[in-house]
Homo-oligomer: 450 residues x 4
């Protein structure tokens, strides 16, 4: 494959996902849909029953190659397929194949079937991500580290608490994927402009049988095409999920800085940069960030596609031919990278502790403030006093509790023992274990429910 | 208001929606949230009960003006509010107001409350749009007009069928809005980095009481801020809805071309263009298209906001201060315009009929093809024959049925009478009444369900 | 190629452009850059002169296949290439190949070289578009048709005038492409973080020689990578150009509506829709619109890439591997489609005339207003009078001049003869020939200048 | 102003920029353009000369308030203005004001004038940013710090070198702004659809005089509106610049992490977070990042605006009314923040040194590799050896030069003295002073040239 130009052909994406969007599988799915239609027509009494067998027997003999060769001549892919099938099958099939349908009855239904498979892969990977993260969250629910806001040290958290937030966030995406499916994964059958005009009064029965055979609900109504808001929602849900993956990747990339080095991705036997042998680059995480950028980028086009003219225009076609496979392949790669990243994550409790204490205990200045309030100070007084103590601790490079104990305004309210005992970063993490449990339980329910 | 620069201050958006995002209402909501927090703290036994009354009694005396004046000094809006409240209230309130909370416990909860009101307006308007469109769909379910694909005449539809497709599409958006709410409209309470550290073991009770008072579920877990995927989903759902409005607006703009003139928006006493007195410009529909463009544009920023650092960074703040009010105001205006547009839509059955027959009946060429298949031709033969007939009808400017009747390959299979009777555009519209009913019923169920 | 998934591998894009972004050409360009670097090192006296020949002699023996196979092992493409080259070449080349360079010295310089070729294709196609449009503009500079604003009939234009506007707009894009090149097409050489540390004081000479060999200016300074604003600008300029192509495509799609049918794209022997034999679908124009949507979509990711960490992070890499080839291939296809579209454009002066007179001459109501002003009425009086005349003409379906002549307020100022003579749509087109000439001359100058 | 909803009314943006986009200034500019047009008409002999004075004398008496009140009645802002002016002025002005023009002759020309002023502010601020950064780059051109790629320590740089890269990048944006101006800042005059039909043969002279009076070149040709690619380019150039500002902000935010603390923004008397008194939040830099996100977001809408129908449709209008002022105000704020940030930047050479040595000298492993190559090893051998030494230095926490000196494969080629002398991070920064000089000189030239 050394002459390809698209990196999703070989570099990014799994073979499993790639196969779904291959020309072979697309044409195979078109054929499956044509067969389902003819079966529905036959069962409804529109087409004779023998047409089905005639069509079925030749399905395998028409290849993607055949279709796209024919398309070069007549400039229409579904028309090419239908002509080829009809010619090969002959007999009744040559009359009744595709009867009453429009090309996008086939195309949109095929997209629904392919996307059903693609979303099954996506959901499977996302569930695995959630499971692995949940297990890490539980395992490390008591491992303290500094919480950071604005990149600054704020208040202690635990590694498990940090992960549990991602569990919650990813579960929200999983929920969105499930809710999206009922709008996106629908067969579409309505003929030229959606009125079912070709099938007389039998259109609803044909559509019902067609839908049953393919295992999906039909769109309630449509123009020549299914409404494009379904694809736009898919793009948006994918963009949100990709951005969440990006957020996690960002977390890892930052925490693996040599000055921090709390979390990092273990390198295998990779070379790293060609010129700097000493580095430990978070390349998997960085790739997630880059691919997330691509996924985010596709949204505007999908939104514009909603605005089709009247009963449809063709402008969605080229965009979707390009964007749908690339979107799913990119999501596939980002999720696979996420799973790989989780497998090779490594943690340093020592560095977490070191950083937690870097600010001489000022990460529990809030605790000091609270203690002062509890002992009668107003919020403002307590705030200023604890700020002063924190500033002094940093300036003098001594523990906050020591400095506080020396301040009269503090010591007359809280004795040194108590300060030493309470102003301990590791202890100021709140009920994180239950928060972790709740997040994990929530995620389990979401995944089970849909 | 002649010195404003933002057109949402006066030109676009309703007073009702504008009020929600006014500085007064934002600060008022902050105060309401601070009070709910203090009540929860008191009921949990953390704060003394009298603090609540002390705070409540001064709430009205601290204005938005006060807060933003103070903010100029200390550069933090919530801190300003809290200091002002504490100073005014004194007593126990001065100690316990905001106890254990972080600014974004207030801000994110306030956003949830304001957005609850904003989405109620949005959903109300959207339900009205759906209802009006449903009624038009039913009223005109049998009014035939040409269906258009690629801008070309395809196969007949009815005006009601056309509208019913929009009913279905808007109902899908309504459903998305409802599903979004359970993820977006949640109170957030967790303290500095979300660990509830300040409240000892009582955090969950405080959060539960806080949530109950405000009538919303809490986020299961959070960092310093609620996860930003909720806002991103809001932006995406809004963008999809706006694009659907744009699609309807586009439909009206096109159908009101003088060459088509099937549907148009009645002009009131407007001047129209300053130089061309004769024109009937679809200015309401055009404004919908323009505003949809703005709504679509805001998505990427909301997606980027998901990728906050660790337990949060501040980069979401300025973006959301700008984008959230503008997004909702824009959606508000687009929906109000849509309602106005629906009120002033006018239809010309005459022009619909004229256009339906413009192609000399070739819009039922598909029917001819189907009839030929039913009489034994293969799809390909029938296709070519009907195409030939259609070409001849157009060339000779004579009805398709006449031309077809003169073609031996046709006439030997179908007699002239039958052709004349069957090849009637108005009759070839399929079971559109049931399709309309189904779409309307679907929409009613969606709106009722949530 | 029946197992590909990316439509740019076969369906969209020219072979010429595809070749540029093939794996073979990318690796070939990397090798060319490595050779130029070694030559520069040798000429500067850093590497011995024989190293160059040693490297050159093995260049052809290392293929893309080799590189990407090796990459699977060591996870780095440029490192793989360098190791393979060094091993094959041995001798001095094995020491000095890539000396002092970082991977992105090679990658970014290779992008510059490949994009130079790609932009040459783009500019060639765009120049051809401009030339063809200019020739159409000149040819039809006097062919009158109705000008449309809001989709409504406004005031007459000519077909050539219409085209001349596109000539101007495309010329502006051509100018942007030229200006962009001086920022984008630069070699980049600076070593690991851009400081040229490996080459002692000789870095500037090495860079100068390197740049000369490749025929491009160097970036003045860089981090590990060239600044990403160059790619972002490319994406933006491409998006603007694509949107202009979309605008033209939109024009054609609209004007080929059966109710209008002034301009259309001739269909060859295509099948068109599978169910509606009578249609003349503007499929080339529609594809331009769809592909423009894809091109527009890529901007946000390129913008985000600007924000690389410190001396760089890797997140741009995967995005650019995906987006750069797809962007250029998509632009290539859109321009090829535009050229094809221009070749098969057909015009109907009859329909233009018919539509021009559709409003009974109200398209020259402005002229009537002007004549009344010239005869002493205020703007407001003249406006109201001409509006009244226009409304009556439309209502009574009689020519504006006739109706006006019967209005006392008009006739007492302008006699019927004059009205009949002046209120002729074809005459009210202004100095369009000179406008066309100016636009064409402007475009010629832009194309010649750069 | 406590009832506003748009934060650009008070929170973000300078008074200077805000004034430009105020309703008063917009209407004032419209009036200025109407006057220029009437002057041009008079000088061309179309209107009598006294009309000019009549108009001029009433200009100040028509306010924005008047116009927008009238607009509520007749639904058209320019028409309202023209009617009000005509009524107030009476006489010849009542006839000739706005003669032959279309509303967008006024609107687009007014945008050009306002944007000229707005871009002058933007360029002024950007030049100040470049100047300040240049001065910092020169001042600190020899202050060593570690260069970072992937967030990992790579190879040394200097602070001045780091800043010089930004100087170069911002200069590229300055250049783009200048090149953009010649396409964007043009008057537009062509009448209803751009054909100049109202002015007979005198249109070109009217346009030339009109343009001269306003000090801008005219568009060569136009439809009813100026081509929208100019605004799209503005949005793109702004998005690129905003992303560069974001990159700098990101740099500061990262380098001010407590574990790094090399660069930070000094806080004034701000409160910081309400709950964490100890923090030093980079809030100015974070706001730049947030606002950059907003600026980037506006691009897609501006691109869509290019695709206007035929001689124009109105969909650009509402979008531009919203987006143009917000875009410029946001850019204004981001640049003001950048200037403020540069003023309060503080540096810690101590921490830079500490971090530079954090990896025990492995940041000069490349230097070791180069030395080995210069002494006869192949690249691969040298790479592996230096990598081994680096790994050992990190593992044993001893300087690279010491560890290397103990490795036989190294010591037999390079003596310990040389290793100790050469493997010094501070020395391995290349010719950065000249790189800094070149970048600064380049920027000076760009700013001077345009």
């Amino acid at each position: 494959m050394s002459d390809t130009l698209c990196v999703f052909e070989w570099r990014y994406g799994s073979e499993e996902m790639r196969r779904l969007f291959s020309r072979e599988n697309i044409v195979k799915t078109y054929k499956r849909v044509e067969l389902a239609l003819l079966e529905a027509l036959a069962e409804t009494g529109i087409a004779p029953i023998e047409a089905v067998e005639q069509l079925r027997s030749v399905l395998d003999t028409v290849t993607a190659e055949d279709v796209y060769t024919e398309e070069k001549r007549i400039k229409h892919d579904i028309a090419s397929l239908v002509f080829l099938l009809a010619r090969k099958a002959g007999g009744e099939a040559a009359k009744w194949v595709h009867f009453g349908a429009t090309s996008y009855d086939i195309v949109d239904t095929a997209w629904a079937l392919i996307l059903r498979d693609a979303l099954a892969i996506v959901k499977g990977r996302l569930a695995a991500v959630i499971e692995k993260l949940s297990s890490l969250a539980s395992e490390y629910s008591r491992l303290p580290m500094v919480g950071r806001t604005h990149g600054q040290h704020a208040v202690p958290v635990t590694l498990g608490f940090k992960f549990a937030n991602y569990v919650y966030e990813f579960a929200r995406s999983y929920e969105r994927l499930c809710e999206l499916e009922k709008r996106l994964l629908r067969v579409k059958l309505g003929g030229a402009v959606g009125t079912m005009a070709s099938w007389g009064g039998k259109g609803f029965i044909v559509r019902r049988k067609f839908a049953e055979k393919l295992g999906l609900e039909p769109h309630i109504i449509s123009t020549q095409v299914a409404p494009r808001d379904g694809f736009a929602e898919l793009a948006a849900v994918a963009a949100i999920l990709a951005s969440q993956l990006d957020r996690f990747a960002f977390e890892v990339r930052e925490l693996s800085r040599p000055e921090i080095m709390e979390v990092w991705e273990e390198r295998g036997g990779t070379v790293g940069s060609s010129a700097m042998p000493q580095k430990r680059n978070p390349v998997t995480a960085e790739r997630i960030s880059g691919i997330a950028r691509f996924i985010r980028s596709l949204m505007p086009g999908f939104m514009e596609n909603i605005v089709l003219w009247h009963e449809r225009d063709l402008s969605n076609s080229s965009f979707e031919r390009i964007a749908l496979p690339h979107l799913l392949l990119a999501l596939d790669q980002a999720l696979a990278d996420m799973l790989a990243l989780l497998e090779k994550l490594r943690f340093s409790p020592e560095n977490m502790k070191k950083n937690l204490y870097l600010g001489w205990g000022t990460v529990v200045a809030e605790k000091l403030m609270n203690m002062l309030i509890e002992r009668g100070l107003t919020r403002e007084e307590a705030y200023k006093l604890s700020q002063k103590a924190a500033a002094r601790a940093l300036a003098e490079k001594r523990p906050l509790w020591q400095v506080a104990a020396e301040m009269h305004e503090v010591s007359k309210r809280i004795d040194e023992k108590t300060l030493e005992k309470e102003l301990v970063p590791e202890k100021y993490v709140g009920p994180v274990e239950r928060l972790v449990e709740d997040a994990v339980r929530y995620a389990v329910q979401v995944v089970e429910r849909c």
